[in-house]
Assembly symmetry: C2
Homo-oligomer: 348 residues x 2
């Protein structure tokens, strides 16, 4: 089992992942497919993954068979594992917790080739439904302190498998970065009696230097203090701290703005590697007036180097205003030719 360890100075936690243990010579292999040429996320290979925890498929079909269009499975090499209690212990001055948690993979489509930006809006909607469903389910678990949904696209953004997928990691404690965001948002609220994110939305709409798109329920902006070139945030226009209370019609709207944003990035930056992260309040927190859930998308174009590691400052060579002009002017349709198969598995 993995182990969570706390840095005694900063209070930052790390996961020492014994299930993923690596010896020095193993770091060369950037990507390690379980079986060369066999993708565990493709139709027909369902037995290569642990049994599914959720799938959207035709109602009369069995689990762990083909004919699904979105499938959620436990990660075969989990950073944290279910079972047991999160026990705290010590080694002298140091603190640790055993690695209890959840690590799942949301396989976005049976199609190995098609990126999220090229999927139909109706399909992305189903992926977002799967996010909501998994968060709803895990939120009831008292052992879980936080649930993070994130996507790595491209090897240099940390994707070890090509097949389009999102990941979910649920941790026994609230991560330090989330704590800091909550604390900062609370401080702003105490001073202004307004949500900082709601203020950002109002500011960016009034003076649209960094406004990429606004729909009925969502807004996409390049944040004022972008850490990375072309960093983009998607935020609900109405205040909400929990993602899983999202309504069906909002899901559809979110699927559209997410598709168009990823499509614009694809076209401007030529299919860049990227990460996106769903920033939400911890599941056991009450709804609050200061935190506002949102999605942060960061293309991987620059290298985080010594200055960033030593200071926490980021050097961004492209201003968000300039990035916004490029993205706003771009096409969002991804010129992607779908292979001769359909996404709901009728080819079986």
């Amino acid at each position: 089992m993995s182990e969570l360890r706390k840095d005694p100075i900063t209070g930052r936690w790390v996961i020492i992942a014994s299930e993923r243990s690596k010896r020095p010579k193993e770091f060369d292999t950037l990507r390690a497919d379980p079986l060369p040429g066999v993708c565990p996320f493709c139709y027909g290979n369902e037995s290569l993954t642990p049994p599914e925890v959720l799938s959207f498929r035709h109602p009369r079909k069995d689990p762990d068979e083909p004919d699904w269009w979105v499938r959620v499975i436990p990660n075969k090499y989990p950073a944290l594992t279910e079972g047991g209690e999160p026990l705290r212990s010590a080694e002298g001055m140091y603190d640790m917790i055993n690695g209890v948690g959840v690590h799942e993979v949301i396989v976005e489509t049976p199609d190995h080739q098609i990126p999220m930006a090229a999927l139909p809006v109706e399909h992305i909607r189903e992926i977002i439904w799967a996010y909501r469903e998994r968060i709803n389910d895990l939120s009831a678990n008292p052992k879980i302190g936080y649930i993070l949904i994130f996507k790595n696209h491209g090897p240099s953004a940390g994707a070890s498998l090509d097949h389009p997928h999102t990941q979910l990691i649920a941790t026994p404690i609230v991560p330090v970065l989330v704590e800091e965001e909550l604390k900062g948002a609370k401080k702003y609220f105490k001073y202004k009696e307004r949500c900082a994110f709601c203020d950002m939305i109002a500011h960016e709409r009034r003076k649209p230097l960094r406004l990429l798109e606004a729909t009925e329920s969502f807004i996409a902006i390049e944040p004022f203090a972008s850490r990375f070139p072309f960093e983009t945030w998607i935020m609900p226009r109405h205040h909400s701290c929990h993602f899983n209370t999202i309504l069906d019609r909002e899901v559809e709207d979110l699927a559209g703005i997410l598709k168009r944003t990823l499509g614009r990035m694809w076209n401007v930056l030529d299919d860049p590697p990227f990460n996106f992260m769903l920033h939400v309040a911890p599941p056991h927190d009450e709804c609050n007036p200061y935190y506002h859930w949102h999605i942060e998308i960061i293309p991987k174009l620059t290298t985080v180097a010594g200055f960033e590691w030593g200071s926490g400052f980021y050097i961004n060579p492209t201003s968000p205003e300039e990035a916004c002009r490029f993205l706003r002017d771009a096409e969002w349709e991804v010129p992607y030719t779908k292979p001769n198969r359909v996404f709901q598995g009728q080819n079986k």
Copy 2:
């Protein structure tokens, strides 16, 4: 001029570096030598860099000519620039400061090929002298809030030029990461009435699971909560919060332990890309009993991905105890054949 911008939620600052401005298509080129095949840090090319601010060279030789062995120059494409006052201003709810600061390059050797791990201890000593000298000089400047010395080795660790060099960036404010370390160290001190770093040193010496080496004045350890595989810290054994008060005999000792640590990493991990950062207290802080300067070395073996960006947690697949066993068992001599030239420039 660059601009420092503050994230209204987390208080994190970013540098929007207009001097390094990049358009979308320019991100493909991982490395951009100013003139292909011409290295501005090699002998004879001194005129390709701004005039030097410091060099160690034979006493009768002129500046900006060959015949130096360590040379410090302003960065030609600085993230922050000297001149002017750090003025604070606002755009609506957002805060910014104009990009006043210092960005220098410490060219470690005239030899384009020889990595720090293969330099003689006496030469590394001179590089550390240059670090000390530049910090001493800049510490007197009231416009400077913090001075960070860092090294990027290898393109994937952010080095844009091969020639061995270290960088120095001085910022008008104390970076958030340094503030957090100071705050955490102070909190520990308030509770324990002891320095957390001094406690770590005592712990690691008593039970040497993660102890790489201890010399008269320094200790090298794999920290308990290592974020990255083979992350290594070098700390002075006696409490000290400022690096620039280091004594000459300690510099010699530090040069030795730094060389051996980098050499061990080179041999175990086959010349890995890495960053190192000198963590020191802000120059205008009084000496304090809770902060302890140190060097953090992080090999770049894993990819920081969505989970890390979304949580601030790190997933480390190699425990520090295991990393320590590999490094401790390794040779530290780097099998490097020096080209047919000597480092003090006598070949001119």
